[in-house]
């Protein structure tokens, strides 16, 4: 697998605050890297640096071997970007959006006469080709955004929260498209708030918190490193001794969701817990990325 994106030591200061602080990120051909983190973690700023929208204050980014800071235009020729918000050109039809986007690249995308109908067909946009994008439903707008990002045949695609606001059916449609793009060898960098999406689609995860990388690897590794092996779920009101038990282990108050505590524990701690609270009713489940977000959001 050849490396498409290599970012080392990225730093960015905005409004006098260091929002990205020494981030490293790698992505290879046919790989999906999920970039995760709670709000304000620095995901969008990192992404914007990676696709050349913002210039890093420090650090280097190579796309397909080309350093972004040295030859931005050449590096951006290999990049496709689907922004979080719809940024299609409302003055043009769906089909024209693809041709106008192609006009912003040199060398010019070849054989547009074949490429544009092919993309419209592939993203099921052919029936809407002559309509204005604002007449499309949310799912089809996302499809147009992704199709537009692919019109110049990039090698690396950035997807910033591609399914936010979509209904479940439209979300799964986008997942299917993303999985197919990966199988064609495209490298993808994905940010999302949906934990199931990150777990299902990503080959590797990079988790950011307060502008720093706090974990990198597969979903399983990241969860094991940051959350633990198991999560004990119990009614907070019915568990008066649990807070004291946690304090004895140097742990603070656990994450609370709708009156229930979600307590991440190791295998050894789970055995201790079972011995300490033999008559308590609780549930044990595997940790998810939701637990990771809850944990990160509780940390000072």
């Amino acid at each position: 697998m050849s490396l498409l994106l290599e970012a080392r030591g990225l730093v960015k200061q905005l409004g006098g605050r260091r929002v990205v602080d020494g981030v490293d990120l790698l992505c290879g051909e046919g790989q999906i890297v999920g970039l995760l983190g709670p709000n304000g973690a620095g995901k969008t700023t990192t992404l914007r640096m990676l696709y050349g929208f913002l210039r890093p204050d420090a650090g280097r980014i190579h796309v397909g071997g080309v350093e972004l800071g040295r030859d931005l235009a050449r590096a951006k020729r290999s990049i496709g970007v689907c922004t979080q918000d719809d940024t299609f050109d409302g003055d043009f039809t769906v089909e024209q959006n693809l041709t106008i986007a192609a006009s912003y690249f040199r060398p010019r995308p070849t054989d547009l006469g074949r490429r544009v109908p092919e993309l419209l067909e592939r993203f099921e946009l052919t029936p809407f080709a002559s309509q204005k994008p604002e007449t499309l439903s949310g799912g089809y707008r996302r499809r147009l955004m992704i199709a537009r990002a692919l019109v110049h045949s990039p090698r690396l695609l950035f997807l910033d929260e591609p399914t936010t606001g979509l209904d479940p059916q439209a979300r799964m449609g986008v997942w299917d498209l993303v999985a197919r793009l990966r199988s064609e060898g495209l490298g993808l960098i994905l940010t999302t708030h949906y934990m199931d999406e990150a777990e299902r689609l990503s080959d590797a995860l990079t988790v950011l918190a307060r502008g720093r990388v706090v974990a990198q690897g597969t979903a399983k590794t990241v969860l094991g490193d940051l959350v633990g092996e198991h999560v004990v779920v119990l009614d907070a009101a019915a568990a008066p001794g649990v807070a004291a038990w946690l304090r004895q282990r140097g742990r603070g108050e656990p994450a609370g969701v709708l009156g229930a505590w979600h307590v991440p524990v190791s295998g050894e701690e789970l055995a201790d817990f079972a011995r300490a609270f033999p008559s308590l009713r609780y549930e044990v489940r595997v940790p998810t990325l939701d637990d990771l977000f809850l944990k990160l959001s509780l940390e000072p």
Binding site: F53, L54, R55, K76, T83, D85, T87, D89, D91, S103
Partner: protein
């Protein structure tokens, strides 16, 4: 990449081509307003108001008010078209349509977006001026005005340069104003006073206005057009409009870049 060199980069031309493509979609919205506006203005100011103007002197000789107004109308349209395009048109593309954000995800950079807007303001204003010039030829042929129509094409490059400078000025406000409602401030505090008090519709005689207008490129533009079309000094006002326009571009485009880098990119 220098900010100045970006003016001739293919990316800036691609942005202009995009705006031109949108503009030319409907011939009636593209060509009717610039063709009808001078007719209305010439009828209102020339035939209507001109009927109450007893005599007007230009370079020591009496001329018809309508003939006096015609070159001013050309300069006024150049100014208004360019500045309104870079105020409202650019603001809508930046804020509401998010066209700029879409362009910035490609090989287009912010410097190209800015030059694209400035050059488009210049091109659109020049196209308007060309259409108005055709209308003026019609009025000349009909005997309503007397102008040197052979020189009209030579005015277009001057119109383009000045319009680019006016476009760069408009972009400064676009970069600074928080909402489209705030556009009223530059429109009423700068654009309308500048448009009307630059010898476009009447000769300047008040010494304060004359002194203020020495630094006003629109005044020099109107005087250049008048000198070419109805006879009079051309070299000094032409040098004035060229120098002031170049100065505005050199100062305002980097300023636009700085302001918009903060606004659009958050830097």
């Amino acid at each position: 990449m220098s900010w100045l060199g970006a003016a001739v980069d293919w990316q800036s031309r691609a942005v202009v081509a995009r705006h031109l493509r949108v503009y030319l979609r409907n011939w009636y919205t593209a060509f009717l307003p610039p063709a009808l506006e001078p007719v209305t203005m010439l009828v209102a100011f020339g035939l209507g108001l001109g009927g109450y103007v007893a005599s007007l002197s230009w370079q020591g000789r009496p001329i018809e008010y309508m003939t006096y107004v015609a070159p001013g109308l050309l300069a006024y349209a150049t100014f208004m078209t360019a500045i309104f395009q870079s105020l409202f048109g650019a603001f809508i593309r930046m804020r509401y349509q998010r066209t700029w954000e879409g362009q910035l995800t490609t090989q287009i950079e912010l410097t190209h977006v800015i030059w694209g807007e400035v050059l488009w303001a210049g091109l659109l204003a020049t196209m308007y001026a060309a259409i108005i010039a055709v209308v003026l030829v019609g009025f000349h042929a009909a005997g309503f005005i007397t102008i040197e129509i052979a020189w009209l094409p030579l005015l277009l490059p001057v119109s383009f340069l000045a319009a680019c400078a006016f476009g760069a000025l408009g972009l400064c406000f676009t970069a600074m104003l928080p909402t489209i409602d705030h556009m009223n401030l530059p429109v009423f505090l700068l654009v309308l006073p500048m448009g009307l008090l630059s010898s476009t519709y009447f000769p300047l005689e008040h010494p304060v206005l004359i002194a203020l207008n020495l630094a006003n490129p629109l005044y020099h533009l109107a005087q250049t057009f008048r000198g070419v079309l109805i006879g009079g000094p051309v070299a000094v006002p032409l040098a004035g409009v060229a120098a002031l326009s170049a100065l505005m571009l050199v100062i305002l485009v980097p300023l636009d870049l700085r302001l918009l880098r903060r606004r659009v990119l958050g830097e």
